[in-house]
Every structure is written in structure tokens, then in C-alpha cells.
């Protein structure tokens, strides 16, 4: 019995070490910043530097930050999307196995569209108010420079 409880103590200690190490890794990688709305969190890993720089010069700079356009606004869906993005981005950056230049995923594109309409609803109500499929409407197809400046 003494040996078994000794082993159990060892395991608990080991689990503590792993938890501590993980906690430090989380802190070292600025993990808490990802829970915030600070745009600087998006350039922790250098990949989105151009997007960030472009946003600083874009017309929406004064009115919207990354999260205003790129994640849903409802609490649960917001953190679910952050979780999904966080997993995909950290996996990509760690294993260096993603397509470059980075391009928006269809699901994220829909989030952006919803957020365009969220703020500009009164302006575009006559357009989006039509019955039927509004999925094909993409504000940024023409207004592609508002977020990150001109690209084409």
C-alpha cells in the first residue's frame, strides 16, 4: 500500500509539473491576449502583420477593430469562433503547414458579411430586405479596401 500511495503522490506531483509548464507556456505565448479585443493580439505571431498594417491605414480603422468584423458578436458564438481560429492558427504556425498568402475561409467570410450588415443595416436595408437568398451578397466584393486598404 505504501508503494502505491507513493506512486500516486508522484503522479500528482508530475501532473502538477505538467500543469505548471503548460500554464507558463500559455503565459509565454500571451495566451490571455487572445481572449481580449485588442488588435495587437492578432500580430503576436507576425503572420498577420500586413493585415494589421493595412487596417491601420484603412478607412474602418477609426470605427472597427479585428473582432468587430471577424468574429460573431453573441457571447457563445464569439468564443467558439475564437477557439476554432485559435486552434487552426496555432497549429498552422507551429507546424508551418498553411497556404500563403493567407486567405479568408468561407465560414469567416460569412461572419464578415454579417458584421457589415450589423452596423450598416439602416443603410442597406433596402438591399438586404429582399426576400430570398442573401447569401450571394458580399459587401466586400466591391468594398474590398475598407478594412485593410487597397490590394488590387
Amino acid at each position: 500500500m505504501a508503494i502505491a500511495s507513493g506512486a500516486a503522490f508522484g503522479l500528482v506531483a508530475l501532473a502538477g509539473v505538467v500543469t505548471g509548464l503548460s500554464g507558463y507556456a500559455f503565459h509565454y505565448a500571451k495566451g490571455t491576449s487572445y481572449l481580449s479585443n485588442d488588435p495587437r493580439a492578432c500580430i503576436n505571431c507576425h503572420i498577420m502583420r500586413e493585415e494589421f498594417d493595412g487596417w491601420e491605414k484603412g478607412s474602418h480603422h477609426a470605427h472597427a477593430t479585428c473582432n468587430d468584423c471577424h468574429v460573431p458578436q453573441a457571447f457563445f458564438s464569439k468564443y467558439f469562433v475564437k477557439l476554432e481560429h485559435g486552434y487552426r492558427h496555432s497549429k498552422g504556425f507551429t507546424f508551418q503547414d498553411f497556404h500563403e498568402p493567407i486567405m479568408i475561409k468561407p465560414s469567416s467570410d460569412r461572419v464578415v458579411q454579417q458584421n457589415c450588415v450589423r452596423c450598416h443595416a439602416s443603410l442597406v436595408g433596402e438591399i438586404t430586405g429582399h426576400a430570398g437568398n442573401n447569401e450571394s451578397l458580399r459587401c466586400i466584393h466591391c468594398h474590398d479596401h475598407v478594412g485593410h486598404g487597397a490590394t488590387r
Partner: protein, 479 residues
């Protein structure tokens, strides 16, 4: 009460569970430690720009030395040895006059009818020039080496020997004098003065790494271009120099923006040129502007011909590789996109971004070259480029056929006794048609650099060939 057998089984099961748990925690610990190391590495990469291991000077020609300080750029520079075909070009030295034998006749009487191979990557520029039959079978001047080698130290030495001393104030004068001397030398003699193809020092200041232009031909050419009245909306620093009263000389190294320099360094060589006068001084004919007809007008002014066509006796022009000139007419130039944006796109290695020094066709690297601005699938981008190039190719085919028809008409008229003098206006049309066709054919983008300009030139070429055809008929009908 449990039996000792059951007890022993329990104990073994517990031990296995403990061992498994230990293994899992240990592996998790290793994983977390590795993740921390990886994050640390990326953070470190983002901070360190480079280490200075060797001293670089204006005389450090060997790229391997520069590679010690800039290993990433050097790695990609070395890849210019790669040989790859694209749909209409690439870096494979196929013989163009076998691929399309019409060009043998188009260049009849000229060295290009003997050997006209597609150029390979930067790494081969000097060795390929040693091998081309245009050099081995024809007399060529030292002027060729201006762009086929890293030649600045040779120019300085030649300038020194011609009596220009090493004072810093006379540095540029010394280079310009050496340039004159080496241009006039026979090729074989000048060849002994150089031993590397284009190198880092040709585009970078060895102290600051800033982009700079060094080639005398370009410095003279851009200065002439600035003095002209041609519209240059895509070169804002020249427009500014003009607006501010055209004081002194336009000096690209001091006045051009970094983005303009990212095209100028390429424009040092990827341009139209000719060898001026008996001194064979390499000259970029930009005195009236960069468009084909502006260059042609300059050549007409100075009475230049590249060769006399063997069939028609026309004093004809051969276009070299007017990439800078053609790009200048296109939408990318107009939008502020530099050569390097597409041909040396940024690549990321870990947390560091560098420009790819493996200079090559963007069609081999569409994701990094095009997709950065054009957010479409790679196949879509390839298809758009192919549409432009295939249209250009089919129009070029027609222009070639029209030119051959003119040549046939002219030579049969001559055989039947029509005097060469009475074919002067047909020759004039031949010269114009040849120049426009060749301005497109010799340019290495198959129309992509400026699709509409290319189409305009080919349309004019076809028109001049047909006008020439009519002139032959008129000459035959004349009493």
C-alpha cells in the same frame, strides 16, 4: 474477503495504470516543453535581422561572401540555376529559330538567324554568353559584358588605368571612363576582366544593403529619359524632378523611392539598347520616351540600323529585351507594382520575411506573386494569364506571317528586276513592321506586361507589313 490471487491481479492492474499515467504526463511535459521552445524560436527569429560575419566592400563580387551575412537571400539566389519551362518561355535554353523557323527568315543576314536560344536563369548569364554562336561566330564588343557580368570593379580598374585617380569625388567619373574603355574592347579581351554573373553588389550598397543602381548604361539612359517630355506617370520621382524645375541631373539613387528602385535595379539590364558609334558605347535609346515608336524615332534620328536584311536589303532594327519599356505601358506599373513584387515576391521563413532572390517567372509561383493582391484561386489566376498570353501568341503568329508575305513580295520583285531604289517605301514599311513585331517577340512576357500595348504594336506591325505589300505592287506597276 478477497483471495490473494485477486489481490495480486488488482495490484498488477494498478501498476499498469500508474505506468500509463506516468507515460502520458511525461509525454505531455515533453510536448509542452517543445512548444515553449518553438514559441521561443519564433520570437527570437522575429527579433534578429542578420549577423555581420564578413566585411563587404565594393570589390566583394563573389556572392558566396555576401551569403555568409545573408544566408537566406543567398540560398534563393543560388536557385537561379533551376531550369523550368513555362507555357511560352521559362528558363530552358530551347532554340527559338527551330521552334518557329519563320524567325530564321525574319532575321536573315543577322546573327540571330544562326543562334537564338531562350535565355536561362541569372546564374547562366555569363557562361551562356560564352557559348552562344552570336559571340563565337561573330565579332562582338566588350559592351556585352555590361549586363552579362558583375563588372563594376573592372570599370574602375580600366578608369584608373585611363588616368582617373581614386579620389572619392571622381569615383563615378572613373567608372564612366572605364565603361567607355571596356565597351570598345573586343569581347574576348574584355571577358578576361570579369568572372561572375550578376552579383549582390550590382543592386545593393555593401555598407547599407540599400538598393542602388550601378550600371552606367542605365544611369545615362534614365537621365536622358528624365530630360525628355514623355509622360512617366508610373515613375513619380521623375515627374517630381521635372515639376521642381529639372535642376541638375535626375539621380535615381538619391531621388527614386524604394518602390521605384525595386524596378530600376532590374531596368539596369532588362531593356532595349544599341551600341553607339565606333566606340560601341552601350546606349539605352530613351531620349524621346519608352514607347516603341518613341525609341524608333530616336533610331531614325541618329540613323541607326542593327543589320541589313539579306532578302529585302532593309536597314532593319532588332529589339533586344524591352521588359522595362513594356512594363512601363502596363496596368501593373501604373498601379505602382514593381518588377520585384512579382518576380522576387516576399517569402516567409519562420517569423522572418525576405524577398525571394530566385528571380523567375511569376507563373511558377502564383501564390506568392499574384495572390497577395488578387484573391482568387491559383487556377483562375493561371487561366487569366494564359488568356492574355495565348491571345498575344496568336496575334504574333499573324504578324510573323504578314511580315513573311512582305519579304516574299519584295524578293520576288527584286528577282524580276524591280530596282531596289523603287522599293524604298516598302523597305520603310518593313523596318516599321519588323520593329513592332520584334518589340513584342523579344520582350519576355508574351504580352503580359502590357496586353493592350502589345496588341496595338502587333496590329500596327500587321498593318505596316500589308502597307509594304501594297507598296511593292505599286512599285511593280510603276512605269
Amino acid at each position: 474477503m478477497t483471495t490473494p490471487v485477486v489481490n495480486a491481479k488488482h495490484a498488477r492492474g494498478r501498476w499498469i495504470a500508474y505506468c500509463a499515467a506516468f507515460g502520458i504526463f511525461a509525454a505531455a511535459g515533453v510536448g509542452v516543453a517543445m512548444l515553449v521552445a518553438n514559441i521561443s524560436e519564433r520570437k527570437h527569429e522575429a527579433k534578429s535581422a542578420g549577423f555581420k560575419l564578413v566585411e563587404l566592400t565594393e570589390d566583394t563580387i563573389d556572392p558566396a561572401e555576401w551569403g555568409k551575412n545573408f544566408p537566406r537571400q543567398y540560398d534563393s539566389y543560388k536557385r537561379t540555376v533551376d531550369i523550368e519551362r513555362t507555357r511560352h518561355g521559362g528558363s530552358d535554353a530551347f532554340q527559338k529559330i527551330d521552334d518557329d523557323p519563320r524567325w530564321r527568315r525574319i532575321f536573315a543576314g543577322y546573327a540571330f538567324a544562326v543562334d537564338y536560344r531562350e535565355e536561362r536563369g541569372h546564374a547562366y548569364m555569363l557562361s551562356d554568353q560564352d557559348m552562344t554562336e552570336r559571340v563565337t561566330k561573330f565579332a562582338q564588343p566588350g559592351a556585352c559584358l555590361h549586363c552579362h557580368s558583375s563588372i563594376l570593379p573592372a570599370y574602375r580598374e580600366a578608369g584608373r588605368q585611363a588616368g582617373i585617380t581614386d579620389e572619392p569625388a571622381r569615383a563615378q567619373e572613373q567608372i564612366m571612363k572605364g565603361f567607355e574603355v571596356v565597351c570598345a574592347m573586343p569581347y574576348a579581351e574584355a571577358r578576361k576582366l570579369v568572372d561572375h554573373p550578376v552579383s549582390c553588389v550590382d543592386c545593393h550598397d555593401p555598407n547599407s544593403m540599400q538598393l542602388r543602381v550601378t550600371r552606367p548604361g542605365f544611369l545615362n539612359g534614365i537621365s536622358q529619359l528624365a530630360k525628355s517630355d514623355a509622360t512617366l506617370a508610373h515613375l513619380p520621382s521623375i515627374e517630381r524632378w521635372r515639376k521642381e524645375g529639372r535642376r541638375g541631373e535626375y539621380a535615381p539613387n538619391a531621388m527614386a523611392s524604394r518602390q521605384e528602385m525595386r524596378s530600376f535595379v532590374c531596368a539596369q539590364c532588362h531593356v532595349e539598347y544599341y551600341f553607339k558609334g565606333p566606340g560601341k558605347l552601350l546606349t539605352y535609346p530613351w531620349h524621346r520616351g519608352l514607347k516603341a515608336e518613341q525609341i524608333e524615332a530616336y533610331y531614325d534620328d541618329v540613323g541607326h540600323k542593327d543589320w541589313v536584311h539579306a532578302e529585302s536589303q532593309t536597314p532593319a532594327l532588332k529589339a533586344q529585351h524591352p521588359e522595362f519599356e513594356m512594363w512601363s505601358q502596363g496596368i501593373h506599373a501604373r498601379s505602382g507594382v514593381a518588377c520585384a513584387d512579382c518576380h522576387m515576391p516576399y517569402i516567409r521563413e519562420g517569423a522572418i520575411k525576405i524577398s525571394d532572390h530566385h528571380v523567375r517567372s511569376p507563373l511558377l509561383n502564383v501564390a506568392r506573386s499574384c495572390q497577395v493582391c488578387h484573391r482568387y484561386a491559383e487556377e483562375e489566376i493561371q487561366a487569366r494569364a494564359a488568356a492574355i498570353q495565348d491571345r498575344t501568341k496568336s496575334m504574333m503568329d499573324r504578324a510573323e506571317s504578314a511580315l513573311l508575305d512582305l519579304l516574299t513580295a519584295m524578293s520576288s520583285a527584286m528577282e524580276q528586276g524591280v530596282a531596289t531604289e523603287s522599293l524604298a517605301s516598302a523597305q520603310h514599311m518593313h523596318r516599321k513592321a519588323q520593329w513592332r513585331l520584334d518589340f513584342v517577340a523579344a520582350e519576355n512576357s508574351m504580352g503580359f506586361h502590357a496586353p493592350q500595348e502589345t496588341a496595338r504594336l502587333l496590329a500596327e506591325s500587321i498593318d505596316y507589313s500589308r502597307q509594304g505589300f501594297a507598296e511593292v505592287a505599286r512599285a511593280r506597276a510603276a512605269p
